[in-house]
């Protein structure tokens, strides 16, 4: 385990925005140790014994929730899970009331996913417990960005100088924003690529390259991070059909082989096979999608462990 004296600069993990480069490196280094731990025959450590964590999900999630739960269990934390639909004044209990009800039962940390941007920031101003943002609207998903950076570092030795293309529905993606911020802090070059209607008008001001041609993006990059099409988050139609999307932005083996170089393919999951990525790509040796899933547990263990040190 890393030196106890090494601490994060923040009490909560609300977004990559609030992390320093040192924070990110500390989390990634700590995660490497935890990855060793979860590959041992005895996968559990007592680090978070006596700490109670509530996983509060106001939006459906299977893998992020499972990943957090496993990370918590492997650190020996006590956990409770709470799934609810997001509410407003007109529809019942407020967010603060919901969370305070859970905290009244003596909970130390809250892992929250919420459909609205800034929900974690809002909550952090009203409650005492530490908060880990597991995704807030189209704002941030910091642990996903951290595990993506971890996976790139694992594959290439370092993130600095790498060219990463984030491809797909950037407009509705929290993964995209957190990834851009995290990769830039670590010294990578970032490009976003997708249909013109799914790229925010002002994203170039964040210092990323903007491309609308998939082939050009792939030729430029070392790593292609394929985003999921978030149909459930699109209140109106931004492109005519999935078929047409797939024609323009679907990654298949033929394109991949035509590049004349080997790039790494990532995806935050769950993948829509045949839409943004074909099966032969997802299952190819160039894909590190399942490594990302494994690394997710280690990174979340690191985050929870380091935040617990901050109490």
């Amino acid at each position: 385990m890393p030196d106890q004296a090494q601490k994060l600069s923040t009490r909560h993990l609300l977004g990559i925005k609030d992390l320093t480069v040192n924070d990110i490196e500390l989390i990634l280094d700590t995660a490497r140790n935890f990855k060793d731990v979860i590959n041992r025959p005895i996968k559990k450590v007592p680090s978070l014994r006596d700490i109670t964590i509530a996983n509060i999900f106001f939006e459906n999630s299977t893998r992020t929730k499972l990943s957090f739960e496993l990370a918590e269990k492997r650190l020996s934390a006590d956990i409770v899970n709470f799934a609810a639909s997001s509410s407003s004044v007109s529809k019942g209990e407020t967010l603060i009331d919901t969370v305070n009800n859970i905290l009244a039962m003596k909970v130390d940390m809250v892992v929250m996913r919420h459909p609205y941007a800034g929900a974690g920031v809002f909550l952090s101003k009203h409650i005492k417990a530490q908060i880990v943002n597991a995704g807030d609207g189209a704002h941030e998903h910091p642990t996903q960005a951290l595990l993506d950076a971890f996976s790139i570092r694992e594959k290439y030795g370092e993130v600095a100088g790498k060219k990463v293309a984030i491809i797909g529905d950037v407009l509705h993606s929290r993964v995209a924003l957190s990834n851009i911020l995290c990769l830039q802090k670590l010294g990578a070059e970032v490009m976003v690529c997708g249909p013109t209607t799914l790229i925010p008008k002002y994203i170039g001001a964040l210092g990323v390259k903007v491309e609308h041609n998939l082939l050009k993006a792939l030729k430029w990059c070392d790593v292609a991070n394929m985003l999921r099409i978030q149909l459930e988050r699109q209140d109106i139609k931004y492109f005519p059909s999935l078929r047409e999307y797939s024609m323009m932005y679907g990654l298949n083996k033929q394109i991949l082989d035509s590049l004349g170089k080997e790039i790494t393919v990532m995806h935050p999951g769950p993948i829509n096979r045949g839409v943004e990525i074909t099966s032969d790509v997802a299952d190819s040796t160039q894909s590190i999608i399942l490594n990302q899933v494994e690394n997710g547990v280690a990174v979340r263990m690191a985050v929870l462990y380091l935040l617990a040190n901050q109490r």
């Binding site: 925005k17 609205y116 941007a117 800034g118 807030d136 704002h139 924003l177 002002y202």
Partner: protein, 419 residues
């Protein structure tokens, strides 16, 4: 006899021969009895007006109270108190109530409820029945009952045909239609100004385009019908340009800007503080600059508070479901000063022009006239504490802050307020 002597005060009133002069002003029984170099006597209450300005009472043409139906946000008493302490002697009330002010009865109710108060209240009637944007409300009947102009409040009139008919119909009795310019389909579910900051916060943007498209539409409609039109709370550089150009080609257009749009940009939203969630949204610094230029060159006629009270339950929630608006009646003067406007310009935009647009008379600050005036000190500081917030609501980002620019006295309808 009730007598008040204000000594050594600078009078700001272009209608008065005392404009920009320092003098003593004696107000007795609600009437300005003498102006000049005056002596004191035993029966006088004396105020030192050194460094202070005496001008016609402020008039706010964009105010939301909650009567009828939403009294827990604000009622006439609480709202009038807030207005008075902010220096206002007259208000135009938005029809955003339940039921909306869309017929003679709501107009008459508001007129009767506020009769004889220090703060004169002028209801604004809805353009459309139920504020639904479908068919015209009884505009003429409301005008007769005391409606001062017509607007659907915070709901833009989506139907161009309806807006055109409203402009044409009201022209028949010289009524004024006010437009809240926003194209709903372009604004979509935008939570804040579209820009770098909305991208960084992962929030849907409400682009300047949404406002400007509607400004263009309504300028064309007003020009086509040869009607007067007033735009409420414009917020973008593009809107200022469009209105400036329209005026040059002879369109009879006026407009106002909310005080908070003169000071704040969308950077204020970085902490997701819903007290900065307003509509139109806070824009970029180049928009703020253009608005200030527009005020100074006369394109923008008036400053409003866009006072919009909301209970804690509607504001202290996740940003996306928080209601739009801040309470502003008590903070317009400090904000206008903070924006760098001179006392003289503030008086023009906050007291004179709103009444001109609404064709309301105000008596000059001259001996013999009824007193309708405000005394303010642009350099005095005060703390906007909870105790000094007279609104029923507390959705202001300025609470607990020290503000510069204080209202020290207000006089109207033979009633006075002394801070």
């Amino acid at each position: 006899m009730n007598k008040l002597l204000i000594q050594n005060v600078t009078i700001l009133d272009k209608q008065s021969e005392h404009h920009n002069k320092v003098a003593d002003v004696l107000i007795a029984d609600g009437v300005i009895s003498e102006i000049g170099k005056l002596g004191t006597s035993e029966d006088l209450k004396v105020l030192d007006g050194t460094g202070q300005y005496l001008s016609p009472g402020f008039f706010d043409m964009n105010v939301n109270f909650g009567e009828p139906g939403l009294e827990t946000k604000e009622d006439i008493e609480s709202g009038s108190l807030a207005a008075m302490t902010g220096g206002f002697t007259g208000l135009a009330l938005m029809p955003n109530t339940q039921p909306p002010v869309h017929s003679k009865s709501e107009v008459a109710y508001l007129v009767n409820r506020s009769k004889g108060n220090l703060v004169d209240i002028f209801p604004l009637g809805s353009i459309s029945r139920d504020r639904e944007g479908k068919e015209l409300a009884e505009l003429y009947d409301m005008e007769l009952a005391g409606a001062i102009a017509f607007t659907d409040g915070d709901r833009p009139v989506n139907d161009a045909g309806l807006m055109s008919r409203a402009l044409l119909y009201s022209k028949g009795f010289d009524g004024l239609v006010m437009s809240y310019a926003e194209d709903k389909n372009i604004a979509a579910n935008g939570q804040m100004n579209e820009g770098v900051n909305s991208t960084l916060l992962g929030m849907k943007g409400n682009p300047a385009l949404a406002e400007e498209l509607m400004v263009i539409r309504d300028l064309y409609l007003a020009e086509y019908n040869d009607s007067r039109i007033h735009f409420s709370t414009i917020s973008t550089a593009g809107s200022v340009d469009l209105i400036r150009q329209a005026r040059q080609r002879g369109v009879r257009v006026t407009c106002d800007v909310a005080a908070h749009h003169l000071v704040f940009t969308d950077e204020m939203l970085s902490g997701f503080d819903s007290n900065y969630k307003v509509k139109p949204p806070l824009r970029s610094s180049s928009d703020v600059e253009a608005l200030l230029v527009g005020l100074k060159d006369g394109t923008i006629d008036a400053i409003v508070s866009q006072h919009t009270p909301h209970e804690k339950e509607f504001k202290d929630v996740e940003f996306e479901i928080a209601s739009n608006g801040i309470i502003g009646l008590q903070t317009v003067l400090p904000l206008a000063l903070k924006a760098g406007l001179s006392p003289e310009l503030i008086v023009e935009k906050l007291a004179v022009n709103p009444r001109k647009i609404l064709k309301l008379e105000i008596l000059p600050i001259c001996a013999g006239n009824d007193a309708n005036c405000v005394l303010f000190d642009p350099n005095a500081e005060w703390i906007y504490s909870n105790e000094f917030n007279f609104s029923r609501s507390a959705n202001s980002p300025f609470l607990q802050q020290t503000l510069k620019g204080k209202v020290t006295m207000v006089f109207n309808n033979s009633k006075k307020f002394l801070s």
